[in-house]
Symmetry: C2
Subunit: 292 residues, 2 copies
């Protein structure tokens, strides 16, 4: 099988590692606008051949893992270039605009819209991890718009990689992912900003920070080049989550200003039920854990 | 040596485990208002004898690890009951009010104000971990007010436990800890609340949550009984950090509303420097990690 990976970083590179294990006869072609990343991916053995869109007609499968703003530009061109028996899937963190951009494309049936909920705060080819996707959820949107046998080729692979498949429409995906992923990133970035601003002249102060602080600001290490277009694509939903989050913080601050400690206790006690919810979330893949 | 642990949960229990390893001849006396916890601690071997304040005169060392509101009530009584050659240290997350409450106590020289920056989101005797404190920072306040040989008894032990000792005045401690610990807890609790409120009728949605969400809401599992009095003690500093955090979130939301993606990119890029800062923080002790 010929697999093309377009955007050979954490997501694309981790797909390459798993596919190579599961389909050892595969030849991997890498395409990336960043020549240094491409050379690194070749050196790391993630891909076998540096390639470009002129070779895309050779592909049986194309993994597109590029920032979502580039995705909406490139996906139609990629579909133009592939043959009729090729499945193209993406890993974008937003789905509405991507699905909309290829809605009327003559090769829409070759595309499977996917969002594997997996990753770390690191990026680039060296961040690729084998088994990143094992036990993780993969959200598939508009599956009915993909040709049967091409659905099958991708989904069988996802299942062999140990992913849990969930089907959802693109609008519902974007609405809910704003709460369980996009908002976490903003809360983390702004927490990091608040502390850095305050403590910029007192680096020693970070000696006082423990694992709790590290955990809440971990996502503030994430790539701005990846996340800016995600927030742009999902602006409406993200603004809504932010308004609700800010409202909740203001209410908490008001309780504190009013010395309403029963109210503060209740807020925290009610939120403790997150324990049971988190028990359902697949194991963490942050750096601290993958080191073990 | 006779060591009394008052409040035998995560913090006190972890001290007991390390002290038992380092000073094998020690007899451990447990005092706790929660009889179930005390029985559990005895069963787990954290303490050898269930005790009360009437025996405190036997103590060579007292570890006080109780919520900070109870601490300010109990600490003067504990000091009343100990002998002149006993060192009493606490593990409270705020320091100003605690130091103030014992300022004029006749046995002030027997007290060492400490805040070991260590813990997990779990609580109770079963949450106690050996080596919880290795590599962690222990902030000591007003060390000059403790008798030399009693300072030495406690500090030698902290060093043998692998802790990094830092000296600070109580006001500076409370100001900075609001940024690097207390704010993280509120941001996490309110993030959890926002998502639970929105998704209360759609539990399946948490299938979409990944390790990033888990990381940012981990602290929302923390104990309200412990954290409510911390926020009360440190109200002024916590309100200040919250105001700045809310302001930063509002500015981010405004950039998004204005479609100012260059501004959003810059915000995130500037905050990425948290990477270098986090590199200085001792290794995580969250449950996911200690499981390895």
């Amino acid at each position: 099988m010929n697999v093309f990976v377009i955007g050979i970083g954490l997501i694309g590179g981790s797909f390459a590692k798993d596919i190579r294990r599961l389909r050892p006869d595969t030849i991997f072609y890498g395409i990336d606008s960043n020549e240094t990343h491409l050379d690194e991916a070749l050196k790391l053995g993630l891909v076998d051949i540096k390639s470009d869109y002129n070779d895309l007609h050779l592909a049986d499968m194309v993994v597109v893992s590029i920032p979502v703003d580039v995705m909406v530009e490139e996906l139609p061109k990629i579909l133009d270039a592939v043959n009729d028996d090729c499945v193209v899937f993406d890993g974008g963190s937003t789905k509405s605009l991507i699905c909309q951009m290829v809605e009327d494309h003559p090769k829409r049936r070759n595309f499977l819209a996917a969002h594997p909920i997996a990753g770390t705060e690191f990026s680039g080819p060296s961040a690729a991890i084998e088994n990143l996707y094992a036990g993780k959820t993969n959200i598939i949107c508009e599956v009915e718009k993909t040709a049967f046998k091409l659905q099958e080729r991708a989904l069988e692979l996802f299942q062999e990689m140990g992913m849990r498949i969930r089907y959802m429409n693109p609008q519902a995906h974007d609405k809910h992912i704003a709460y369980v992923s996009h908002l976490s990133h903003i809360s983390s970035f702004m927490l990091g900003k608040t502390v850095i601003e305050k403590e910029k002249n007192e680096r020693d102060i970070f000696d006082m920070a423990g694992s709790g602080f590290e955990s809440t600001v971990r996502l503030a290490k994430s790539s701005p080049a990846m996340w800016t277009p995600i927030f742009k694509h999902n602006k409406e939903n993200v603004v809504e989550t932010l308004e609700e989050y800010i409202q909740n913080l203001q209410e908490f601050m008001q309780l504190l200003k009013n010395d309403d400690y029963k109210g503060i206790y209740k807020e925290m006690n009610d939120t403790n039920k997150i324990k049971e919810i988190l028990n359902g979330i697949p194991l963490n893949n942050s750096k601290t854990v993958t080191k073990k």
